[in-house]
């Protein structure tokens, strides 16, 4: 098995220990059968990669494995210092603080304002209450939503909601941001804006793994690493191709 280092646009990255590493991962579900079959790849600090493939190919399963919502049946997943076959229940919250997750359907709390949604992530992870307000302002500024801080999700457009969700995912200052079809519910213009935001986050040093089945989106990102998956197997990895 060969492992490929990623390569992507953006500032030069240090190539130390990978922050995410999947080693010969197999995952099956009782009803739908094998979702992943001998999947191996790694992502380095500050890398930007697309995970692509048709619906049901196994993209979300990979994200869930990295987020440790699922455990592999065979093989191993390493994220930072955490390893899937050794991690304890008490470690998982600590891991999740290092791995931001952005969902297709935003998963915002509608009774809270945009600012409160971001603050919520800080409060529940034990952030210093004196610093929450300034941090929320900075995060909303980073995603371009300072003016909408007091708006509730139903008052925001799809693109704006996704920006709030991204700000929330960044609240714990993660090493990597996982995004599961983040533009799936957005029109082209909003999708382009959200993608640009991910690029900006990447430029600031956070690694991004963005799962999408949108071929059009990928065509516009020809300089990025692309990992393509079909029926649970990696069928293409641009970093591996470049290395060979």
């Amino acid at each position: 098995m060969s492992e490929a280092d990623g390569d992507s646009a953006g500032p030069k990255r240090e190539r130390g220990t990978p922050i995410v590493r999947l080693e010969s991962v197999v995952k099956a579900y009782p009803r739908s059968g094998r979702a992943l079959d001998d999947v191996s790849f790694q992502l380095h600090k500050g890398e930007f990669a697309f995970l692509t493939g048709p619906s049901g190919a196994g993209k979300t399963t990979i994200l869930k494995l990295i987020h440790m919502e699922e455990r592999p049946d065979e093989g191993r997943v390493r994220v930072s210092k955490f390893t899937s076959d050794e991690v304890g229940r008490k470690d998982i919250p600590l891991l999740r603080r290092r791995v931001g997750y952005v969902f297709q359907d935003f998963r915002l709390l509608e009774r809270l304002t945009a600012a409160e949604n971001v603050a919520f992530a800080l409060e529940v992870t034990g952030a210093d209450s004196d610093r929450i307000e300034s941090r929320v302002q900075r995060l909303l500024g980073q995603v371009g939503l300072s003016a909408k801080a007091s708006s509730h999700p139903p008052e925001l457009s799809g693109g704006e909601r996704q920006r709030v969700a991204i700000a929330r995912a960044l609240a714990t200052d993660p090493l990597i941001l996982l995004a599961d079809e983040p533009t799936g519910n957005l029109d082209d213009r909003a999708a382009k804006g959200v993608l640009e935001l991910f690029r900006d986050i990447h430029r600031r040093g956070t690694a991004v793994l963005l799962a999408t089945h949108d071929a059009g989106l990928l065509r516009r990102q020809s300089d990025s690493r692309v990992i393509e998956i079909e029926q649970g197997k990696i069928v293409f990895d641009s970093a591996r191709e470049a290395a060979s």
Binding site: P93, L95, G100, L109, T125
Partner: protein
């Protein structure tokens, strides 16, 4: 503070179910409280009766004086015994005349004293029960000159049975109601969990600790339990007042019992909630 806020919010979210849970806990603890009131008053009455529990060994006419004196000394050394007294036939007649003045004419007309001499044994505190009384009576009977030994056997046994039955009934009925209360609390907490499903999902997603996520629900259960305990206390007090006003005078429960009742309510609520949370909040998966 957040946990407390969320716990109150959970209560407000489904007030009917929360009130039902409080009511069920109150009912279960009321049953225990009423039986407790009964048991406590029986205990007080028993303490009074027990003061009078004594074992009497009636002596045969030919009982040797020396032998009786030795027996008295020996009986005094038993751990169950507080005092021992040898009552002669003359003393027995005098006592009878004093205690039953309405029969004084009958006693004075007697040509011979029909009353036997006896050994009266008062049991020590902590030994005034059926079993110890029987033990001492059997020892008395073992002396050849003791014709008969009595200790109000039926009384003592009935008192013991009454105490056990009231305790058992409180345990069975209270336990049954407590189970219903626990199920209701668990359901109320489950509804709170479902209502807060989105927030729990986000908390788990961003890395909130498991204990942080669970705490508000445990507090909600504790709150429901304590409220139920206090309501039970109030209802028991109402029954106590009514009995005193309408039937007869009874004593109120000791403070440690009251505190214990409320604490049991809180514990019941907390355990039910912990069970529901364990079932409903999907734990972090780990190796």
């Amino acid at each position: 503070m957040r946990a407390l806020r969320e716990a109150v919010a959970g209560f407000r979210r489904s007030p009917l179910l929360a009130s039902l849970s409080v009511g069920a806990i109150a009912l279960s603890l009321l049953v225990i409280g009423l039986f407790g009131l009964l048991a406590h008053n029986i205990d007080l009455a028993l303490a009074d009766v027990e003061e009078r529990v004594e074992v009497v060994g009636y002596l045969s006419e030919d009982a040797p004086t020396n032998g009786v004196q030795l027996a008295v000394e020996e009986i005094r050394s038993y751990p169950e015994v507080a005092t021992v007294r040898h009552v002669t036939r003359v003393e027995a007649l005098r006592n009878a005349t004093t205690e039953l003045p309405e029969f004084s004419d009958v006693f004075s007309d007697l040509e011979t004293n029909p009353l036997p001499a006896s050994i009266e044994v008062e049991l020590a505190i902590g030994h005034r029960n059926a079993e110890d009384a029987r033990t001492v009576a059997e020892r008395l009977r073992s002396y050849g000159f003791v014709a008969e030994a009595r200790y109000g056997q039926q009384w003592v046994q009935r008192i013991d049975v009454l105490r056990r039955v009231s305790g058992g009934a409180a345990a069975v009925l209270g336990g049954g109601f407590a189970l219903v209360a626990a199920l209701l609390i668990a359901t109320a907490v489950r509804m709170s969990i479902v209502a807060r499903g989105d927030a729990i999902f986000v908390m788990q997603s961003v890395g909130a600790k498991e204990s942080y996520i669970r705490r508000p629900f445990i507090l909600e259960g504790l709150g429901v339990g304590v409220l139920g305990g206090l309501l039970a206390l109030l209802l028991t007090w109402g029954v106590f007042r009514a009995v005193n006003a309408l039937l007869f005078s009874i004593a109120w429960l000791p403070v440690p019992w009251l505190a214990g009742g409320v604490a049991v309510g809180g514990l019941l609520g907390m355990l039910s909630a912990a069970y529901a949370v364990r079932k409903e909040v999907r734990p972090y998966r780990a190796a």
